[in-house]
């Protein structure tokens, strides 16, 4: 068939086009990776990402940190913060979602409507009063303003995601458990939570990534350099950079992306499915 040959050429062309675009897209990341191993003076004189000589000095210098704070401190801070946020979101959002998906109660429709409304609301509106509140509580310059809201299910997006998921679980399970004498608390812990693994994992992944990368609230609430998280610490490198400091900055930038990569690689399946089915923001 004539079409066959044509389509073979077309498939080839498509592959070349797609991998060409992919290369251009990935190049900045590769360049950063390469630059992190180049001596300072070579970073901006070379466009090719592969270092001609490998140099680990950048990582050593970067790891030593900045303004008397080792980079490991920023990492530890970020990890503590992210874990607190992840746990908070999983617990509080799944609880609320269980109530919305499985329990009957007064004012359910109103509550559900309010919950949906808060998903759409830009955080700017609550930003300043929240700051004033946390300032009054003397929580500013601690991690509390960044973690406590997660334990209070303020990321309603995840409640919605889990409500959708819980609704898909067969209601007969609840009924069977009720007959066996389980109350709502045991149905939640013994029936729903074990079955909700994919929804919980999706929530964990996204909470982790968003907290890890969050810059705005960390910028507002943290002022002691020793309490700085990775994004704030990185920006410190940028502020103080003379030309020769770019190497350590790139090195620590690469390091800051490693956890995101690991999470992504491990959970890829959930990621792509989660995005395709629920349509997360980018």
């Amino acid at each position: 068939m004539i079409g066959q040959r044509n389509s073979a050429v077309w498939v080839m062309a498509k592959h070349i086009l797609i991998s060409g675009i992919a290369l251009v897209m990935l190049y900045p990341v590769l360049w950063m990776l390469g630059s992190s191993f180049k001596p300072g003076h070579m970073i901006f004189t070379e466009t090719w990402f592969w270092p001609r000589e490998w140099n680990f000095q950048n990582y050593m210098n970067g790891w030593t940190g900045i303004q008397g704070n080792p980079f490991s401190r920023f990492l530890t801070n970020s990890i503590v913060l992210s874990l607190g946020a992840v746990l908070g979101n999983v617990v509080s959002c799944s609880m609320a979602a269980y109530a919305f998906a499985r329990l009957d109660f007064r004012f359910k429709a109103i509550c559900f409507g309010l919950m949906l409304m808060t998903i759409m609301l830009p955080h700017h509106v609550t930003l300043i009063p929240q700051y004033i509140l946390f300032n009054h509580l003397e929580w500013v310059n601690t991690y509390l303003p960044l973690v406590v809201p997660k334990w209070l299910a303020t990321d309603a997006f995840f409640i919605f995601l889990m409500v959708q998921f819980f609704r898909g679980l067969p209601k007969e399970l609840d009924e069977a458990a009720t007959i066996d004498g389980c109350g709502p608390v045991r149905i939640y812990t013994k029936v729903i939570i074990p079955l909700a693994f994919p929804a919980l994992v999706t929530t964990m992944i996204f909470t982790f990534l968003w907290t890890w990368d969050d810059f705005f609230s960390q910028l507002i609430y943290l002022s002691d350099v020793s309490k700085y998280t990775v994004p704030l610490g990185l920006r410190l490198f940028l502020d103080s950079s003379s030309q020769s400091d770019w190497g350590p900055m790139f090195a620590m930038s690469v390091l800051s992306l490693v956890p995101c990569f690991i999470v992504f690689m491990v959970c890829q399946k959930y990621f792509v499915e989660g995005i395709a089915t629920s349509g997360l923001k980018g």
Partner: protein
């Protein structure tokens, strides 16, 4: 409804209260309460140090009549949204269509195209971008190889915003994956049937693919619109917190942040927040309204 039925219907009220307790506390103290406070503060002068003093509509009138930077931040944000959202969506759709059929290694491509989105929100990438598009950065190095002498994109007020647009378009991954999921649901028979009828690829795209995909386009459009209006980190890092050069990257969120947390004009910043809510609301409403004209649902139902 008899009393007994009411009782049975709400049999779970106690348990529900328990499960909803964290959310309810959050709703009252971190969302609804702050919203009311924010509305009140927006009518005052408030610097946190002294009690708020009532200025009525003062903040709002200042904004639109005498604050040139506010108008500038609106212009910057509208330009950013108007350019980055369509370009990003078109690019995402084109790539999704390339990946949709007869490609081996789809998983790898999907991963590669998603990586920028995965990393794009981070400060590390914003810093990379700033250096990459700077005077002696990667892009100009490449351009120099083909003999083009290019400006410092980030330091030039004409181009600085577009370097952020480029960063945003670079992160087309999640829109693309949603498009891909939508494309996979189009039955191939539709395409084949109309090909048999003699419709060329362009006509098939406009008469079959686009209409079937329109709900997905609508969804992506709304999501991108809402998030683009709130962009902050990239502009902050690329302009080093200033919104410069010459306020060319002074995004709305960045200006709001400066007003609230650099100048401690909390009243003014709150008023700005409410204007943003209204702006996003109006635009979302417009998109929803217009969707009746261009979004088609398969079951023939109306939106």
């Amino acid at each position: 409804m008899t009393a007994r039925r009411v009782k049975r219907r709400y049999a779970h009220s106690g348990a529900a209260l328990l499960f909803l307790a964290p959310w309810l506390v959050g709703l009252l103290f971190l969302t609804l309460g702050p919203m009311l406070v924010s509305l009140y503060i927006s009518f005052t002068d408030y610097s946190i140090l002294a009690a708020p003093s009532w200025v009525g509509l003062g903040n709002y009138t200042t904004m639109f009549t005498s604050d040139k930077l506010f108008i500038q931040s609106l212009k910057v944000t509208f330009t950013y949204v108007a350019v980055s959202v369509p370009v990003k969506l078109i690019f995402a759709l084109l790539v999704a269509m390339l990946l949709n059929k007869g490609i081996r290694g789809l998983g790898i491509y999907r991963t590669v195209y998603y990586i920028p989105t995965l990393l794009g929100g981070s400060v590390a990438i914003a810093m990379l971008w700033r250096k990459m598009l700077g005077g002696d950065g990667l892009l100009n190095g490449v351009l120099a190889m083909v003999g083009i002498k290019a400006p410092d994109w980030v330091a030039n007020p004409k181009y600085a915003l577009y370097s952020i647009v480029l960063l945003s378009v670079w992160q087309f991954g999640s829109s693309m994956i949603i498009f891909l999921a939508g494309l996979k649901q189009i039955p191939p028979e539709y395409d084949e049937a109309s090909a048999v009828d003699g419709a060329g690829p362009l006509r098939r795209f406009f008469n079959i693919t686009l209409p079937i995909l329109s709900p997905v386009i609508f969804f992506n459009l709304v999501m991108q619109l809402i998030t683009s209006f709130q962009s902050f980190t990239q502009a902050f890092v690329i302009s080093n917190g200033s919104g410069g050069p010459v306020n060319s990257t002074l995004m709305y969120s960045l200006y709001l942040y400066k007003k609230g947390f650099s100048f401690f004009q909390m009243g003014y910043a709150s008023a700005m927040a409410w204007v943003l809510v209204i702006l996003i609301g109006v635009f979302t409403l417009l998109v929803f309204r217009s969707s009746k004209l261009w979004v088609h649902y398969e079951d023939g139902g109306k939106s």
